[in-house]
């Protein structure tokens, strides 16, 4: 068994007085796709945003427990948060291009990280757009405004933007929720390619999607981790009654 990439160790999390995660513990292996699934309000997104410390931006929250990346506590005092976020990229539910061109968007992270070399930036631009399965569609207009892209293209641009920092982990929060089936398939295909190199953690936008892409799946209900199973087990032979009810569509 390989060492886990991310270890979530007894994590509880609250907004003000409202606890949204209760003592969640799970290990995420490298180079695979882990899905967090469950009905809305289960704490999936919160857990995702705890891994790259994006919830630091939200005031009035409390967390207990530990999250380890390669065995190191991401909330440790020696962690440089921007560097952590370069190692752990994120794609949001709604595609939100930054103001400016496609190029500006993809190269935002690398430029902030201090990369100035033009040929290197060009190389990053093309590689990331290819990895996000967008290059062929946009190679002639990388200097056009990003908002001119379709929704599906914008979301793949956001994936390319996250890849530009060469992260080790990619967190995706319902990345296809606003997309049509064709764009969704393209995004899923690029995710399948990407997991060779990256550790992918995704909140899928449907149970079907979860079943298509999961290497392991965690089922969350009202802040509790109900079940965490390898492979397709959770969908075919769920252990918990609640899991079965959810994946067979009895509630959701």
């Amino acid at each position: 068994m390989v060492d886990p990439k991310i270890q979530i160790d007894n994590v509880s999390y609250a907004y003000g007085q409202r606890w949204v995660l209760h003592k969640v513990t799970l290990d995420i292996p490298p180079n695979s796709t882990t899905v967090f699934l469950g009905p809305a309000g289960g704490g999936k997104t919160s857990l995702l945003r705890l891994i790259n410390r994006l919830n630091d931006l939200v005031e009035g929250t409390r967390m207990t427990g530990r999250i380890l990346l390669d065995g190191k506590d991401v909330y440790g005092s020696d962690i440089h948060v921007p560097k952590l976020r370069r190692r752990v990229g994120m794609v949001f539910a709604l595609p939100l291009p930054l103001p400016g061109t496609l190029r500006d968007n993809v190269l935002y992270g690398p430029k902030l990280a201090g990369i100035r070399d033009r040929s290197r930036l060009e190389e990053i631009l093309e590689r990331c757009l290819r990895q996000a399965a967008l290059w062929e569609e946009v190679k002639d207009r990388v200097d056009h405004p990003a908002v001119a892209l379709s929704g599906g293209q914008q979301q793949r641009l956001c994936i390319a933007r996250s890849l530009a920092m060469e992260p080790e982990v990619l967190l995706l929060d319902e990345p296809t929720s606003g997309l049509d089936p064709i764009s969704t398939r393209k995004v899923e295909e690029s995710l399948f390619e990407l997991k060779q190199q990256y550790t992918i953690v995704i909140v899928p936008h449907s149970i079907q999607q979860a079943a298509r892409i999961a290497d392991q799946a965690a089922f969350f209900l009202m802040g509790d981790l109900v079940e965490y199973s390898p492979g397709k087990e959770l969908f075919t032979r769920p252990r918990a009654k609640k899991t079965e009810d959810y994946v067979t569509g009895r509630f959701g």
């Binding site: 931006l57 370069r86 709604l94 939100l96 930054l98 103001p99 992270g109 902030l112 996250s162």
Partner: protein, 281 residues
């Protein structure tokens, strides 16, 4: 009465009310333009006044107002915008920041003569700057700050939070997000606030009354520690303090002041619409 006529009557009333707002402004501008045009000449703008200010031009007052506005801009823009970025982007919501905000709101409502007296006490006397451009510009800056801060803060808050989140998720520090995303997006609003504030500074009389303005000083200031004439105060002086002053000179001076303020306003609008067109959300 039928609904149709009620509606017609309502529109007519609203139209009248709108007219009541617009007509006085048009009258003020119209009268000043008509009466003042005759006084305008290259000489009027570039000559020193003489013969008890009844003859010659308004050059030192014009230069004085430009210098005071420039000085105000140099002080108020960095402090105003810097303070706003802190308040809107960094400061947490505590009783300290809440009282700062309260203070800013209240500063905006203070009568300008009070700023003038404060400037006299603080800068002219206590800090021993004397009546000088420096003291005047500092006084005007304090008066301008609340305008700049409240409009700039609104502009910063109008930029969607998600941009900050995205920037952070791409490894940007808070400052990098502000520097590369938030400030450029908020710029049109900030510029509007800055120019509105400076317009007010350029046109005010009371704050400069005791801090910088000279009654009659037919030469240009040599340093920031010099006194200077200024257009609004000059206008006040020639309208009320000098007997036998020709109407033409009074209207001419008012026209120049008005033109200065209006042209700054136009510049502001042009800059703003330029940046608006480049905005992409």
């Amino acid at each position: 009465m039928s609904r149709y006529w009620t509606q017609r009557l309502g529109f007519a009333l609203l139209g009248l009310i709108t007219l009541a707002v617009v007509v006085p402004i048009l009258l003020v501008i119209g009268v000043i333009v008509v009466e003042g045009m005759g006084a305008l000449s290259w000489e009027f703008l570039t000559a020193m006044p003489f013969d008890g200010m009844k003859q010659g031009g308004i050059f030192p007052a014009l230069v004085g107002t430009l210098l005071l506005t420039l000085g105000t801009a140099l002080v108020a823009i960095p402090i105003g915008v810097g303070g706003t970025v802190y308040l809107a982007e960094y400061a947490r919501d505590t009783w300290v920041t809440r009282s700062i905000r309260l203070a800013i709101v209240n500063l905006a409502g203070i009568p300008s003569i009070v700023y003038g007296l404060f400037g006299l006490g603080m800068f002219v006397l206590f800090l021993k700057m004397g009546t000088s451009i420096l003291a005047g510009a500092l006084t005007l800056s304090i008066m301008t700050l609340p305008v700049i801060i409240s409009t700039a803060e609104e502009a910063l808050r109008a930029v969607p939070t998600e941009f900050r989140t995205v920037s952070a998720s791409l490894g940007g520090s808070r400052w990098q997000g502000i520097r590369y995303i938030i400030l450029p997006q908020a710029l049109p609003g900030i510029i509007t606030g800055v120019i509105l504030g400076l317009l007010r500074a350029a046109g005010e009389t009371a704050p400069i009354l005791f801090t910088v303005a000279a009654f009659f000083l037919p030469r240009l200031p040599q340093s920031p520690f010099d006194q200077t004439m200024a257009l609004p105060y000059h206008l006040y002086v020639i309208s009320t303090q000098v007997p036998g002053m020709p109407f033409k000179v009074q209207y001419g001076t008012a026209l120049v002041l008005l033109g200065l303020v209006l042209s700054m306003n136009v510049v502001a609008t042009v800059i703003r619409s330029y940046f608006r067109r480049r905005r992409q959300w």
